[in-house]
């Protein structure tokens, strides 16, 4: 069989890969999109179609055990009890890194909760403005037009009057009304001088492109049964398919990116599909497999010109990996809140996001919020299982608690460190590719952020009249993969970065990265997907304009 040839091959169909494939197809490129997981059908596959939906497990497949070698985490400082999850004896070692990522057409957007944040302008200059992390090679102004386009594509619902974000016009669809929980916590926040804001969400409040608007099931993490959540499989990928130029191959596991003898051009992508090894050629190759799998694939793609992995002659691939700096407090109120309804994270507080706004001697650079899903309390079964005991007392307690437990959380940026890295381990997965070792250590600034965020969440709980705190959770002792980034960061110099400011790999003409790997920072604790998508759109446009000009 002749090796098929495309204008572009895209590896991975999540936030970055989906947008890149769409932009390239609409510009006339013939694109091959390779996705490791299967295609899901929102009209059939998701549990909330059933009345007893909690008996139908989450349909999404993750493969942490096929990606990350099981290893103990870092030793913890047990003299700082304020950093630990609880109740319970503080751990001695941090829990091993678990990489929860959905395999499926649409990638992580299948189960994300749809927070659509633009990073603030100062987040791109964090080193020069407040001595934290590294400055990006681009600024907010470079991304603003692409943020606009992505928001239009996804029908983002939001309110433009957030004083803690750069000025902007109206969102494509109006904001969701605040949930009862957000209004309650918002009143507590006001008493502390903080202001609850509408969280911009890819859950359109009006129909976009003929799709259903959000129907407030609260089931974003289990797959939206109305196809209302703007995941890639119902937005960018169908648009790309309508051009007639997109070829999608699902259940395709990419194993190698092969460069030519000079090492300056990629020749082909080798993948497993249907029990056979296949390959495809293209003029341009885009990696969009995420901040763990993209460096893994590069490190495994060795050749004479790239003995330490593709594009890794400066030993930068996999470094500066950032995970999630988060605290959560699960609290109970004695008001009926019906917390199972509506968007899972409908409100955030950004008063502390600008590090310059921090109180004397204390670290800012984080946001706070209210979530109805993070704590694992959602439908009746989840409440029953998480309420201890049994018998009459238990049944009464479930009645008292149901719909009244919410999570107060804080989310910060992890300080980028060269020694925090993804590397290949000595253990292989079932396809024979080495699993990764994930080494991350929190800096003193990260630890301090956890302390301060816990303090703020406790203050919010008290000010909003929470009657009980069930437990507290921090990523100091438990790893969390929800906001991973930075492992192939963009920058000016090949000695300190992996790609240039367009996402093109230093020294390799036709290889680009369109995922969270290229992020140089995490935007002061904001969600990453909108920035991944804006960068992917910008990179794809650059690829198109380079082809047109030469």
């Amino acid at each position: 069989m002749a090796e098929p040839e495309y204008d572009a091959v895209v590896v991975g169909s999540g936030a970055g890969g989906g947008v890149a494939a769409m932009v390239l197809c609409e510009a006339g490129f013939k694109v091959l999109l390779l996705e490791r997981g299967r295609r899901y059908d929102f009209t059939a596959d998701y549990p909330m179609r059933h009345p007893d939906w909690e008996r139908h497990g989450n349909p999404f497949v993750e493969a942490s055990h096929e990606t990350v070698k099981a290893e103990a985490g870092a030793e913890l400082d047990r003299s700082r009890l304020g950093l630990f999850s609880g109740p319970g004896e503080p751990r001695r070692l941090r829990s091993g890194f678990r990489y929860r990522r959905v395999l499926g057409l649409g990638g992580t957007t299948l189960h994300y909760q749809g927070e659509a944040h633009r990073f603030a302008d100062y987040a791109f200059r964090s080193a020069s403005e407040y001595g934290f992390g590294v400055d990006w090679p681009i600024g907010y102004g470079d991304l603003e037009p692409y943020y606009n386009r992505v928001e239009q594509l996804l029908g983002v619902a939001g309110s433009p009057d957030n004083p803690f974000k750069p000025p902007r016009g109206a969102y494509p669809t109006p904001p969701h009304p605040f949930s009862p929980a957000s209004r309650l916590v918002g009143r507590g926040a006001a008493a502390l001088g903080l202001k609850m804001q509408h969280n911009p969400l890819v859950l359109p409040t009006r129909s976009v492109d003929g799709r259903s608007p959000c129907r407030h099931t609260g089931g974003c993490t289990r797959g939206c049964i109305f196809g209302a959540k703007s995941s890639m499989d119902v937005t960018a990928i169908p648009r790309a398919e309508r051009t007639g130029r997109l070829t999608v191959v699902t259940e395709a596991r990419v194993m190698q990116i092969e460069a030519d003898a000079s090492g300056s051009r990629v020749e082909r992508v080798v993948y497993l599909h249907d029990g056979a090894t296949r390959s495809a050629r293209a003029r341009v190759h885009i990696l969009a497999a995420g901040a763990v799998e993209t460096p893994r694939l590069l490190l495994y793609s060795r050749s004479a010109a790239h003995p330490h992995g593709l594009g890794n002659n400066e030993d930068q691939v996999g470094r500066h990996f950032m995970e999630t700096v988060t605290v959560m407090l699960n609290v109970r109120y004695d008001h009926p809140l019906e917390a199972y309804r509506g968007p899972p994270i409908d409100a955030r507080i950004w008063d502390r996001a600008d590090p310059r706004s921090s109180l004397a001697g204390e670290r800012g650079g984080y946001s706070l919020g209210v979530s109805s899903s993070m704590g694992g309390f959602h439908g009746p079964v989840s409440y029953a299982l998480r309420t201890p005991g049994f018998g009459l007392e238990h049944k009464r307690a479930v009645r008292e608690r149901f719909g009244r437990i919410v999570t107060l959380f804080g989310s910060a940026e992890q300080e980028s460190q060269s020694g925090n890295r993804i590397s290949l381990s000595d253990q292989s997965d079932s396809a024979g590719m080495p699993k990764v070792s994930v080494r991350t250590r929190f800096s003193e600034k990260d630890a301090r952020a956890i302390e301060v965020m816990f303090r703020d969440c406790e203050a919010l709980a008290e000010a909003s009249g929470a009657v009980a705190t069930l437990n507290r959770h921090s990523t100091y002792d438990r790893s969390n993969a929800s906001q991973v980034a930075g492992s192939c960061r963009m920058g000016q110099s090949p000695e300190a970065s992996v790609t240039d400011l367009w996402g093109r790999m230093h020294g390799i003409d036709n290889l680009y990265i369109c995922d969270a790997s290229v992020l140089a920072g995490q935007g002061a604790g904001d969600a990453l997907s909108l920035t991944i998508q804006a960068l992917a759109w910008r990179t794809a446009e650059e690829i198109v304009s380079r082809r047109r000009s030469g």
């Binding site: 059933h50 008996r55 009862p180 918002g186 006001a190 129907r215 049994f390 149901f402």
Partner: protein
């Protein structure tokens, strides 16, 4: 949810009849594929379920039909069936040791005391306790009876945007 109790009685009678016939004809208590509990253990399981989720002003596990749902589970899963058998035997042993009676014959609060002992520790009784608690809670709290008790509607058609639980005109934080 008024059929659960008579279902339970019917199943119980069927088991008694089958056990009687098996004894008369010298058959083993289980024939063919081993997919269900023997009558005494099945009765003990019902007593366990009734102890985990009793009736109060609202139906409990038995009236909500949980035993049937668990029988379906055990019929599908030979491993779970073995685990239940060993666990129910451990519960029965403890009931006889500590209360001098079969678990099934104990008053509700005495049954609770027997089960509490299995919440912590090791052994087949504890493993069983955690499984049966999860199996029972999962089935009860996804049943129409529990939904009615909690005023919960599953989101098959979505929910309206307007927050229901309190005044919708109020802005967060004022």
């Amino acid at each position: 949810m008024t059929t659960g109790a008579s279902d339970g009685r019917r199943r119980f009678l069927q088991r008694v009849l089958w056990a009687g016939a098996a004894w008369l004809y010298g058959l083993p208590l289980t024939v063919g594929a081993d997919t269900s509990l023997e009558p005494p253990r099945a009765a003990a399981l019902e007593a366990v379920l009734d102890t985990l989720i009793p009736d109060d002003d609202y139906p409990g596990a038995l009236r909500a039909g949980v035993p049937t749902r668990i029988e379906e589970l055990l019929a599908r899963s030979p491993r779970r069936l073995r685990l239940y058998r060993r666990g129910l035997d451990a519960v029965e042993r403890r009931a006889r040791e500590t209360a001098g009676s079969s678990f099934t014959d104990l008053a509700p609060d005495r049954r609770g005391e027997v089960l509490v002992a299995f919440q912590a520790g090791y052994g087949p009784g504890t493993i069983f306790f955690h499984y049966v608690r999860r199996d029972a809670m999962t089935r009860f709290y996804s049943s129409p009876a529990a939904y009615e008790m909690l005023g919960y509607q599953p989101p098959l058609n979505g929910y309206p945007f307007a927050p229901a639980a309190s005044d919708a005109s109020e802005r967060a934080g004022g």
